[in-house]
């Protein structure tokens, strides 16, 4: 009997240098096409500023909603001697301090919750309170698979804390898919840095290519293997394909522009539910990723 090797404890991030290339389309359909799999699978929506996966994966039932907080200092002005040491310690200018006239305020928007000011204060004037950053919502499907969604509160500045919490919750799953935030900034890095493989979704335009190159460069620096999906492949130039060939980066899939897909997507419907052909294609995508991943591991 052939021995079936099952990949477990694998994290695959789906990312793109710029938004709107179809990252959510790929993530949700890949996840959906794997509903019959024997693996326990979680899709984590790490785009906490604009989480959308839920709009497509409506069947999941909400299991829990977990608040993510950050610590914010509170200054007791009756104990404060206006020495200014906390201001000196805060590297984010989150403490507004004036010696004359004596003024001290915490600028909560700028605070990262590092706790340096509490350590600095020698007069016990600083305590801390919880500040709500957002929620991690868990949705469970009848197949046991889960969608874990990080959702930032409107008006909060930084999504990184929520992303970290969301990914942590997916740790027990065999296969974790991460729908990454756009760009190559901090939220992207926090999402991909523990991934085993990154799927970059791009479009064949000069913008797409420029962002793709930047994403590839940073992943190289981090030592994470990646492959590329070209979306709306027929609506642009061959430059992206040529670039991939030159750089020896695998092209995992090409998705042509298709009105059926665009319309289904606009309605929040999944092409993998509407078309067996597309379901098979996404299944194949998973196998291609798996093969690429194993090739890399063997290296």
């Amino acid at each position: 009997m052939p021995i079936i090797v099952i990949m477990t404890g694998i994290t695959i991030a789906i990312a793109s240098g710029k938004g709107g290339t179809g990252k959510t389309f790929i993530s949700t359909n890949l996840f959906n096409s794997l509903q019959d799999s024997r693996l326990s699978i979680a899709l984590v929506d790490c785009d906490a500023e604009a989480p959308n996966d839920r709009e497509f994966l409506k069947e999941g039932v909400l299991q829990s909603s977990h608040a993510v907080n950050q610590k914010i200092p509170v200054i007791d002005k009756t104990k404060c001697t206006y020495c200014g040491k906390c201001d000196e310690y805060c590297n984010f200018n989150a403490i507004f301090f004036l010696e004359e006239p004596q003024t001290i305020e915490v600028l909560e928007d700028l605070c990262h919750g590092c706790g340096a000011c509490s350590v600095a204060c020698e007069y016990g004037a600083i305590s801390e309170k919880d500040d709500l950053l957002g929620y991690v919502n868990r949705y469970r499907f009848s197949t046991g698979k889960e969608l874990i969604e990080g959702r930032m509160e409107v008006g909060v500045l930084v999504s990184v804390g929520i992303i970290k919490e969301s990914i942590k919750m997916a740790e027990p799953f065999d296969l974790v898919l991460l729908d990454s935030p756009p760009g190559t900034g901090c939220p992207f890095i926090q999402t991909v840095y523990k991934s085993d493989y990154v799927v970059l979704v791009t479009e064949p335009t000069p913008f797409g290519l420029s962002d793709l190159k930047q994403s590839v460069a940073i992943l190289k620096e981090m030592g994470i293997p990646c492959g590329v999906i070209i979306n709306r492949a027929d609506m642009g130039t061959d430059d992206a394909q040529n670039y991939l060939k030159r750089e020896n980066i695998p092209l995992l899939m090409s998705v042509p522009f298709d009105k059926e897909i665009a319309v289904a997507y606009s309605k929040g419907e999944m092409i993998t539910n509407l078309s067996t052909e597309w379901k098979a294609k996404f299944n194949q995508l998973y196998h291609t990723i798996k093969e690429e991943f194993e090739k890399n591991k063997a290296k």
Binding site: G20, E49, G185, F188, M235, K267
Partner: protein
């Protein structure tokens, strides 16, 4: 007038519309504030006049010679960025937020501070005026602050050369960089598309602009991909007192223009879509002229 063009999510066509608006002006300052993926310079190939270093933050660096592996810093770091294993204590650069608490409490003085100085911002000239654009180095933080720098520079240039209008191509999302791109502007255009995710992001974005009490209008791009949702968006905007100034049809020519490194209004000046964009442009700028 300072006009910011934003979108809850990328890919709605925000940059194409910013580019078109910019090329409809004779003399404009265009500020590309999508600093994570600044792209407009690819279209306009500006002649660069100024380059500035942007210090995005700090990173803690460990001197292994001095470290005695006491582990005190491990306990103090709230970002799990310092770990202790068989090889001793080390700093995980990707998790470090640069608060520098570790450097202050280390009894051995083994942790020093390094500036993150790989990000840049530039100012230059292009055929329709001046352009300011930022480039955040991968993984560096403080997009919001870089956006503010780009805007400051844009204002400075507008004043220096007596240019009346600034167009800001904003970043996607509703986080710190988006907030920095819109605070205090005279008008905001939110570009959206009729998809369920587009609607969802639009609502969050409008919550933000209304929170800041900014005069906001909406452009529905590719409205004919889903007319039902487009009407829903219009209804929602009407009820919230927000004007939908234009509905643009889906047209592959928009991508074609981009592929030819041109704005849509330059590339296909007399096309239906260009006419519609021109109308929206007049609509926005007419009030201030």
């Amino acid at each position: 007038m300072e006009l910011a063009i934003i979108s809850g999510k990328g890919g709605t066509g925000k940059s194409s519309i910013s580019a078109a608006f910019a090329t409809l002006q004779k003399d404009i300052v265009l500020a590309d504030c999508d600093v994570d993926a600044a792209n407009l310079y690819l279209l306009f190939n500006p002649e660069c006049d100024e380059e500035h270093v942007f210090i995005s933050g700090h990173k803690a660096v460990m001197d292994e010679e001095k470290c005695i592996n006491c582990g005190i810093c491990v306990d103090y770091c709230r970002f799990d960025a310092i770990v202790e294993n068989e090889n001793g204590v080390s700093i995980l650069e990707t998790l470090c937020e640069g608060c520098l608490l570790c450097s202050r409490i280390c009894p051995q003085g083994a942790i020093t501070v390094e500036e993150e100085d790989r990000s840049r911002y530039y100012a230059g000239r292009f055929k329709n005026g001046r352009m300011v654009y930022g480039r955040l180095a991968p993984g560096e933080e403080n997009t919001g602050k870089l956006v503010s720098k780009v805007r400051e520079k844009a204002k400075e240039i507008a004043e220096k050369f007596g240019i009346e209008h600034i167009i800001i191509d904003g970043p996607p999302g509703i986080g710190c960089s988006a907030i920095s791109a819109i605070t205090g502007v005279d008008a905001v255009i939110v570009v959206t598309e009729p998809t369920v995710s587009g609607v969802h992001d639009l609502k969050r974005t409008l919550q933000l602009t209304q929170g800041f009490k900014l005069p906001t209008s909406v452009i529905i791009n590719k409205f004919d991909i889903n007319r039902e949702l487009s009407s829903e968006i219009e209804l929602y905007c009407n009820e919230s007192g927000i004007r939908v100034i234009s509905k643009l049809p889906f047209n592959p020519i928009v991508v074609e223009a981009m592929v030819h490194c041109s704005s849509i209004t330059d590339y296909a000046h007399d096309s239906e879509i260009s006419e519609l964009i021109k109308k929206a442009h007049t609509d926005i700028f007419a009030g201030v002229r």
